[in-house]
């Protein structure tokens, strides 16, 4: 056991308490401000009302933005799930020249700042593909998102494959199953929870992404974060932004909950 004096312990508790206040005060201020009756956020809140919630519920731009966010995140998730899983299988089952380079390539889109990734894509789209007559538009945004989501699926699936018993696959092949049959009946059932967790993380990462989206979204298309970004600049509707932000906080509880459940399911599988 680590033995420390009472004073040290008191200092540690004070630091932890301070951190919790630091982490949660802004979120509470934001959530309370979504019930602020006034148009402009502030503190202390003079009077509370749910009128901005009612307004946001039927406000078409918010619905459009939410739909775009879900579409982009779903597209990115599907592409990233396929590519990330393929990478995981290659990195697990084989030794080959340049393996560490491939590893860096997978991590690179998330290791480099979002602005570099965003500018790189934007530059390719508008200065190379557009002059050549190719306009990716909406799909360009999905391509960019999928690229930095690959690592999420890869990490999860790879970690699971490393712990898997390879003799099961060999047994399956010995019994005459083809590669696809083995994958479908033997391999996939063993890593599907990790696969689901990775896909969920990819969806959440894409849903939350702002910087890459700014540079790759086609004109006139807003995702939810882009909509928030535009509205923060305008002071007249600050309270609606707080409503949407509160909804985003509440939505973020879903992946936390699901990933905890999946982690538990994974433990039981072992």
């Amino acid at each position: 056991m680590l033995r420390i004096s009472r004073l040290t312990k008191a200092i540690l508790i004070a630091i932890v308490g301070f951190l919790l206040i630091f982490m949660y005060t802004p979120l509470f201020v934001l959530i309370l401000n979504s019930f602020n009756e006034s148009q402009i956020s502030g503190w202390p809140i003079e009077s509370f009302s749910t009128k901005w919630w009612a307004f946001a519920k039927d406000y078409q731009p918010i619905r459009d933005a939410l739909l775009n966010s879900v579409l982009v995140a779903t597209g990115a998730m599907i592409i990233a799930s396929i590519l990330g899983t393929l990478f995981a299988f290659a990195m697990k089952g084989f030794d080959f020249f340049g393996k560490s380079t491939v590893n860096i390539l997978i991590v690179l889109p998330i290791a480099l700042p979002g602005i570099v990734t965003g500018v790189a894509f934007s530059n390719t789209y508008s200065n190379f593909l557009s002059p050549a007559g190719i306009n990716l538009g909406y799909f360009g945004m999905i391509v960019a998102h999928a690229t930095f989501c690959i690592v999420m699926v890869f990490n999860n699936v790879f970690a699971r494959l490393k712990r898997m018993n390879p003799s099961l696959q060999e047994a399956s092949a010995d019994l005459g199953a083809g590669l696809w049959q083995t994958f479908r009946l033997v391999t996939f059932p063993q890593f599907r929870t990790s696969f689901a967790a990775g896909a969920l993380l990819a969806f959440a990462l894409s849903f939350d992404e702002v910087v890459v989206t700014i540079f790759t979204a086609p004109p006139g298309v807003d995702t939810l974060p882009l909509w928030i970004l535009k509205e923060v600049g305008r002071p007249n509707q600050a309270s609606v932004v707080n409503v949407v932000a509160t909804v985003v906080i509440l939505l973020s509880l879903i992946p936390v909950y699901v990933s905890q459940r999946l982690a538990r399911a994974q433990e039981e599988e072992r």
Partner: protein, 293 residues
């Protein structure tokens, strides 16, 4: 035996692939590698090429060419140099603050708190990570604005916040990326075997000495791994500066301003954060802690 042969013949592709490891690897890697290299690496490469181009002053269109003017500008214009240094210092400050708070938090969670407190804290640290990047920036904006929560709460003590400025940018970035440092540090401290503490105290070390001589060396790899995130994410950020920094400009602000007006300058300036991060990764790699990421 005949049966096995018959099955093998019925699955010609599978048995072919099973015998040829290289072909199998190639068929697995072809699609993802084409994507990463064809989409991403090519884009980065094109960005580098664009950095040598220029903008036609009359048509304001990008025209191919080869000149070093953009790089010269990025490296010699005082405002650009100042922004690079400012951004670097902000990213380093954020990293330092994250380390400073992550270690006591990790020690408390892993070695002192009761199990239920520990689990509660683990969830409490992870939750804000998911709360949304932009949401957290708006939340910090609400707290530190002139008529905001901070000034209200501190008014009885006669304290006023600095308003939107560099310190608030550092605070916002710390708020955004702290979990990336806190979680690996906590995990590393949890993995320290308890008998090391017993040994240390048997040999007469007090709590602080044990933390300094035993805990610090063991968690250095985790700190470095966490710092790669806090440093790299802070270095490339510009929305925190835009919404909580007042007039503060970071590298990202200048890249974002130029992307439509003058893409070659934006491209050249993008090489600065890449350069800083590569240097940082190389230093981190020498300490041998990247394998643990």
């Amino acid at each position: 035996m005949t049966q096995v042969v018959a099955k093998k013949q019925s699955k010609p592709i599978s048995s072919y692939l099973l015998r040829r490891t290289k072909v199998r690897l190639l068929s697995i890697l072809a699609l993802p590698m084409t994507w990463i290299v064809g989409v991403y690496i090519v884009s980065l490469f094109l960005l580098l090429i664009t950095a040598f181009w220029n903008v036609d002053p009359f048509t304001s269109l990008v025209s191919p060419g080869f000149n070093l003017e953009n790089f010269k500008m990025v490296l010699t214009v005082p405002a650009y140099i100042a922004t690079s240094i400012r951004t670097l210092l902000i990213a380093l400050s954020v990293t330092a603050i994250c380390i400073f708070f992550a270690i006591p938090l990790g020690i408390y969670m892993a070695k002192i708190a009761k199990p239920w407190v520990r689990n509660l804290l683990a969830v409490a640290i992870t939750l804000p990570l998911w709360a949304g990047y932009l949401v957290k920036i708006i939340a910090m904006r609400l707290v530190f604005t002139e008529e905001g929560f901070f000034n209200w709460a501190m008014a009885p003590f006669g304290i006023r916040g600095p308003g939107f400025s560099i310190p608030i940018v550092i605070l916002t970035l710390t708020y955004l990326w702290f979990p990336y440092m806190a979680l690996p540090v906590y995990t590393a401290i949890r993995q320290i075997p308890p008998n090391l503490f017993d040994a240390s105290s048997d040999m007469g070390a007090k709590g602080f000495t044990t933390i300094y001589r035993v805990v610090f060396p063991l968690i250095t790899p985790a700190v470095i791994a966490g710092s790669v995130f806090t440093f790299s994410l802070s270095l490339g950020d510009y929305l925190a500066a835009r919404f909580t920094g007042g007039a503060t400009q970071m590298i990202g602000s200048i890249i974002a301003q130029n992307i439509n007006l003058n893409p070659p300058v934006a491209a050249a300036y993008s090489m600065i954060p890449i350069f800083f991060i590569v240097i940082y990764l190389m230093v981190a790699r020498r300490t041998g802690s990247l394998e643990r990421m």
